[in-house]
Amino acid sequence: MVEDNKKIMKTNTLILHTAALFLLPLQLIFSVFLLLRGHDEPGGGFIAGLVASAAFVLYLFAHGVPATRNILRVAPHDLLAIGLLLGLAAMFPGLLYGEPFLTAQWWEFTLADSVIKLSTVLIFDIGVYFAVLGSILTIVMSLTEAEE
């Protein structure tokens, strides 16, 4: 691990190396913000997934594939599978109410004086988020490893 870091440190600047550490959490928080904002305003699962994968890709460029796998903890194609399954799960609730597939279901409730709206659309968006994150990381990691 230390060996790996040394090798990568040689090929990268210190600025990038340090900046990646700080930018990663910021970008991830921003991606979640985009994801939740998405239904009525610009944003949504796809763009949020891209921002999140950009965060990890930046970390990957600075620290290499093994370190990125370490902080990611799950394999990228597992993320892809989770995303697809969530997306599919969002299709079914409509059927329980006798409506066509993909019909959006909404649940509203108040929490501390503000109305919170949850929906199957959000589940679908989260699914898209993970699917985009998973597929982009799979592609980038395979390409980087193939190069090495």
Partner: protein, 502 residues
């Protein structure tokens, strides 16, 4: 509510996601694949039953009313295609258990296969022209990956031609959709059909119609842009070849049937005449190409092309009988062609080659396998009482009735040449003695192959299907006839999707 109309799309999608989730366990992936294949076939039969009762089964996705949302529509033709997809999917799933190398399984063979099936089912069920394009792309994407899985040199060479031409076709398809949308302002196929039937036909509509024809023609491997098919279909794993051979080109044919019976019927003497000549030349070039080949899978690949010609001929003649013939032909062809590819895979396992010169002696040692080849092969050539005879008979009769003599003569000639090709394979692979220096331990049974019966299972099943279609032609003919009725009267489709018309 009718969930059966979306199940054929959802089942493979779900199976794809699940096999991806069980990435690490090949055992689970196989079980999911088998289960999903059975479920897809069951859903297809349910859908067929339901369309026979109600005529059309429609679902507006997300409860957005047509023509604003995406409609999923099944008429009899769609339902028949879905059942065939289920049959082929099941056959390939069983066959894949044995022939797929570990390495392919680890690189996502099963998820890709399910994605491909989802794309195929989606194309058959979509009632929205842009959604059709999306399903085409899903299918193509999965097929690109399956085609190159393994990464051998020959595969890459085939894949480049395959990918380039199919992307070209997608580009034309997309531009045609754009132009059409500019003219009629809707993407719902039923709505497009209705609007085009209300206006005077102009040259512009014919231009768009031809763009669709070229695009689907490439995907269906019709003349003149068919050469990607024989260049690539013999390169991947045999189960993948068989899956492609059975389903992919037929999606192009299906799209052609859908578009040229529902949407572009205003100037039949122009559009369908061009189609007629394309069909004739497709038949002829395909069969002549096959005559020159000496590799098992390449011969079969060229025969796909010539058979596509017959299916297009049914559409091009555009009489009720011809459409019945076309639908019947599609049913017969999908089963027979997949079966023949699977036979070539078994022969490869026994003798280790696809080159006719290096094969031989199969009849002497494996008469059962020879029979399993003979039934689909003779059926393909159109010998009575097998399924291909009735398929060809209906189309040729329709040709005589419309007095299209040249085309009919070509169709008969092509049948004869198909027989020649099949006899060539029979003589080389099954009849002649085993060439010197070939390893025959597997063929003679000295080396036991405990998994061979699993490979033979789908062969037997598909052969029984062929025999069933041939010997029990009447109900199948009636089914095809009902499907053709619906195609010739697009008003029913339009009303089912859009509700009662103003």
């Amino acid at each position: 509510m009718s969930p059966e109309v979306v199940l054929p799309i959802l089942i493979p999608l779900l199976a794809g996601a699940l096999t991806l989730a069980f990435w690490r366990s090949q055992r689970y992936q196989r079980w999911i694949t088998l289960l999903a294949a059975f479920a897809l076939l069951a859903a297809g039969l349910w859908l067929l039953d339901s369309t026979r009762q109600h005529g059309y089964v429609v679902m507006q996705m997300g409860n957005w009313p047509a023509p604003f949302g995406i409609s999923i529509v099944a008429d009899l033709l769609s339902a028949i295609m879905i059942v065939l997809t289920g049959i082929i999917g099941l056959a390939i799933a069983i066959y894949s258990m044995v022939v797929t190398p570990d390495q392919h399984e680890r690189f996502g063979y099963y998820p890709l296969m399910h994605l491909l099936l989802a794309g195929v089912s989606g194309s058959f069920l979509s009632g929205d022209i842009f959604n059709l394009f999306v399903w085409f792309e899903v299918m193509l994407l999965a097929s690109f990956a399956l085609l190159t899985l393994g990464g051998e040199r020959a595969q890459m060479e085939g894949a480049i031609k395959y990918v380039t031409l199919n992307l070209f076709s997608s580009a034309i398809f997309l531009s045609a959709i754009g132009l059409l949308y500019g003219m009629v302002g809707t993407l719902n196929m039923a709505d497009i059909g209705y609007k085009l039937s209300q206006v005077e036909h102009t040259g512009m509509i014919n231009v768009v119609a031809l763009m669709f024809m070229i695009s689907f023609g490439i995907k269906a491997a019709a003349f003149p842009l068919f050469f990607w098919l024989p260049a690539s279909y013999h390169t991947p794993l045999i189960a993948v070849s068989a899956l492609f051979a059975g389903l992919l080109t037929k999606v192009g044919v299906y799209a052609m049937y859908r578009v040229f019976t529902l949407m572009f019927t205003g100037d039949v003497s122009y559009t369908h005449d061009i189609l007629l000549w394309a069909a004739t030349l497709t038949m002829l070039t395909g069969v002549l190409g096959a005559a020159a080949q000496f590799e098992f899978r390449r011969i079969l690949s060229f025969h796909i092309i010539s058979q596509i010609g017959y299916m297009l001929l049914g559409l091009a003649l555009y009489t009720p009988l011809a459409i019945i013939g076309g639908v019947f032909y599609i049913m017969h062809h999908i089963i027979v062609k997949t079966n023949l590819f699977l036979v070539s895979g078994v022969v490869y396992r026994l003798l280790g080659s696809y080159e006719l010169k290096k094969l031989g002696g199969v009849y002497k040692h494996r008469p059962g396998l020879a029979l399993l080849f003979l039934v689909p092969a003779l059926s393909l050539a159109g010998l009575p009482p097998l399924s291909g005879f009735f398929a060809k008979f209906i189309i040729i009769r329709a040709g005589i009735e419309t007095e299209a003599w040249v085309v009919t003569a070509v169709a008969l000639l092509v049948g004869l040449l198909t027989l020649y090709s099949m006899i060539k394979i029979w003589a080389e692979v099954f009849w002649k003695a085993v060439p010197e220096g070939t390893d025959t331990t597997a063929l003679t049974g000295k080396r036991k192959d405990s998994q061979m019966w699993i490979m033979l299972l789908p062969l037997v099943g598909l052969t029984l299907c062929t025999l069933y279609i041939g010997l029990n032609g009447q109900p199948i003919f009636e089914l095809a006839s009902d499907a053709a009725d619906q195609l010739m009267n697009p008003a029913g489709y339009i009303e089912a999707v859009l509700g009662v018309l103003p």
